[in-house]
């Protein structure tokens, strides 16, 4: 049952931006800590949970906590500038105060993944919600078998986390494949050129003892699923995180309801077989 006592579940806590990284021309990472030190000590979350972030005076938006909970010093979220709140965020500088509610939602079953190969597939701005799982697996490296990451973006400029890609690419215990859409490459680009599903097909990953984390734009997910189907992957072993529009984050406001689930509370992490059982809204 409930665990919030007489608390107002819609009132945010104050957080402070401690660093801001411009990932691409329109994507920013924010590192943050609670203003109240006691909150920093008490805060814990699971891999794949999200928060509701307030820019005071502008509104509240939903972003994944995109670091692993094993990283304790600060937390991160990442956003692309598209609407009112993210436009305001693009002007927020370190030292400024935001609001946070969370952590909310379910998580990736990282314990169940133990001992398995992990295949991460992601496109564009969807690397941050995958990265929390990658970072977790790297922090507990010996718990997992092979780690393979396939990440693509429209252009080289649009690749987020370039500094992490460099790190992952240099590790002998990670197989990293990066790609950009045809025409998105630069003269010195050393990665693949092609859409993510095409590169996935070329990679021909083994389904043996493998779990997949697949997050990206709907079209990338749809075609990647077809490829994974051809390769014999079980939809019950493919995990994704839905990004429905949300407001409350706690299963009340009705906005993220699809079929019998409230994505904010029953998700946002689902297996692909769970998604196939939902009404096929254009989510």
């Amino acid at each position: 049952m409930n665990s919030n006592g007489n608390q107002n579940i819609y009132q945010p806590k104050l957080i402070r931006v401690i660093d801001k990284i411009q990932e691409t021309p329109d994507v920013f990472t924010f590192k943050w800590r609670f203003v109240d030190e006691k909150e920093n000590e008490a805060f814990d979350f699971k891999v794949g949970q999200f928060g509701e972030f307030t820019v005071f005076g502008e509104g509240e938006s939903t972003f994944d906590i995109c670091n692993s909970p094993t990283q304790k010093e600060y937390n991160e979220f990442c956003c692309r500038v598209v609407g009112k709140v993210t436009k305001a965020l693009s002007k927020v500088e370190p030292g400024e105060t935001l609001g946070f509610r969370g952590p909310y939602g379910g998580s990736f079953p990282v314990d169940k993944y133990k001992g398995s190969n992990m295949l991460f597939i992601s496109g564009g701005i969807a690397l941050p919600p995958v990265r929390c799982v990658i970072d977790y697996c790297l922090a507990k490296r010996s718990d997992y078998a092979g780690l393979t990451i396939l990440y693509g973006a429209r252009t080289v400029d649009d690749l987020v986390y370039k500094y992490m890609l460099k790190d992952w690419g240099s590790r002998p215990d990670v197989k990293l494949v990066t790609t950009v859409d045809p025409g998105g490459e630069t003269p010195d680009w050393k990665g693949e050129v092609g859409f993510v599903p095409a590169i996935l097909e070329k990679m021909n990953p083994s389904r043996e003892n493998t779990y997949v984390v697949l997050i990206g734009p709907p079209i990338m997910i749809k075609i990647s699923m077809q490829v994974l189907g051809k390769l014999g992957f079980d939809p019950g072993r493919i995990y994704t995180s839905l990004e429905n529009k949300m407001k409350c984050g706690v299963g009340k406001c009705g906005r993220c309801n699809v079929g019998n689930v409230y994505v904010c509370k029953d998700g946002p992490v689902f297996t692909y077989s769970e998604i196939l059982a939902l009404p096929q809204e254009d989510i």
């Binding site: 409930n2 919030n4 579940i9 104050l14 005071f56 105060t97 009705g254 309801n257």
Partner: protein
């Protein structure tokens, strides 16, 4: 169930007594051509010889708009000012059994894992005094969703049924809160005799006879589960203009939005009623809208009420009050939609 008799004069005294005791006392009040639930300052303002209020009394637990916190801002710091979540004692008179059923349907939603204290703190402070229906129309279909125009136990704390003499109400107290209300004003409530109980029974039968719209919803949920895509959606809801009036009048529609109202120095965040039928309900900042056309939005309304909510919380998200049909500007009749679905289900199409 504890039963009593209260006459019209004593009902006025009860209202007066509650006002004097400082309770926010709400009753149907005539405003222009409609009746609205409003706080009354004297029993004379309350109108009980009426059909149904324009809006359900949902707003006394879940206002159309309310601040959820405010804040002030200085250069690099923000201070949050919590809102007071203690609410006044409230007694709502004269609602119908369909309206009394609303809060009990929504409790599960406002409670799962996280309790919305705006809802529950008000709920604790609020008593509902319902009345057996004296009128009904073609939009009413409460008996098709398991309710009844004379039911005492749909969620009210006291239920009143006007007896044949037109002067005395038969009082039923289905809850502890209702019994407490009776014991707070003992001189106003008289013992009920067996013949009063019999008269209440026949008044109830008469009220039941007012409901002429009978829907067979037995196969509707199952049909909805397998007909997310069907020609019916576009055909029946093509005329929906997405105004959201249906949701705003509904006793069980609970979807809401947050909006910030701000100046550079500070602001307030409000929780506002919203509706799945309004076009920007699921509109992403990117411009993508999973429900990009009106019939998909109307389908969500029907699916949520007659399938999803039942699967999730075990209750139909509808009380058959008929407001959404009655007040729809384009006469989109929810009962007719359900009849069409029932017919399709029956014919196996």
């Amino acid at each position: 169930m504890e039963t009593k008799i209260i006459n019209k004069q004593d009902l006025a005294k009860l209202i007066d007594g509650l006002i004097s005791a400082g309770a926010r006392t709400v009753a149907p009040v005539k405003v222009g051509q409609m009746h609205l639930f409003q706080e009354v300052r004297s029993p004379a303002e309350a109108v009980f010889d009426y059909f149904l209020a324009r809006r359900s009394p949902k707003e006394f637990l879940f206002p159309q708009t309310e601040p959820i916190f405010s804040y002030t801002r200085q250069k690099d710091s923000v201070k949050i000012h919590p809102v007071d979540m203690a609410f006044p004692r409230t007694v709502v008179f004269g609602l119908r059994p369909c309206d009394a059923a609303g809060p009990g349907i929504l409790d599960a939603l406002f409670a799962w894992d996280y309790e919305d204290k705006f809802w529950f703190n008000r709920r604790e402070q609020t008593a509902f005094v319902s009345m057996t229906c004296a009128q009904a129309d073609h939009a009413c279909f409460c008996s098709s969703v398991g309710l009844s125009p004379d039911a005492a136990d749909t969620g009210a704390d006291l239920h009143l049924t006007l007896l044949d003499d037109g002067q005395r109400y038969f009082v039923e107290a289905p809850t502890g809160k209702g019994k407490k209300l009776v014991s707070e004003f003992p001189s106003l409530f008289k013992p009920a005799t067996d013949s009063d109980a019999a008269a209440r029974g026949s008044a109830g039968e008469k009220a039941k006879g007012l409901i002429t719209r009978k829907l067979d919803l037995s196969n509707v949920k199952q049909w909805l589960g397998s007909h997310f895509t069907d020609e019916l959606w576009e055909r029946l809801s093509a005329k929906c203009i997405g105004c959201g009036a249906c949701a705003f009048e509904c006793p069980t529609c609970h979807c809401f939005d947050f909006q910030d109202e701000a100046t550079p120095e500070g602001g307030v965040r409000c929780k506002n009623w919203d509706s799945c039928c309004i076009d920007n309900f699921t509109l992403h900042a990117s411009g993508h809208n999973p429900r990009n056309i009106q019939h998909k939005r109307y389908r969500q309304r029907i699916m949520h009420k007659f399938k999803y909510y039942i699967d999730k919380f075990g209750k139909t998200l509808c009380t058959g009050c008929g407001r959404c049909s009655r007040q729809c500007p384009v006469t989109l009749d929810i009962a007719e939609v359900l009849e069409n679905i029932a017919a399709k289900a029956a014919s196996g199409s």
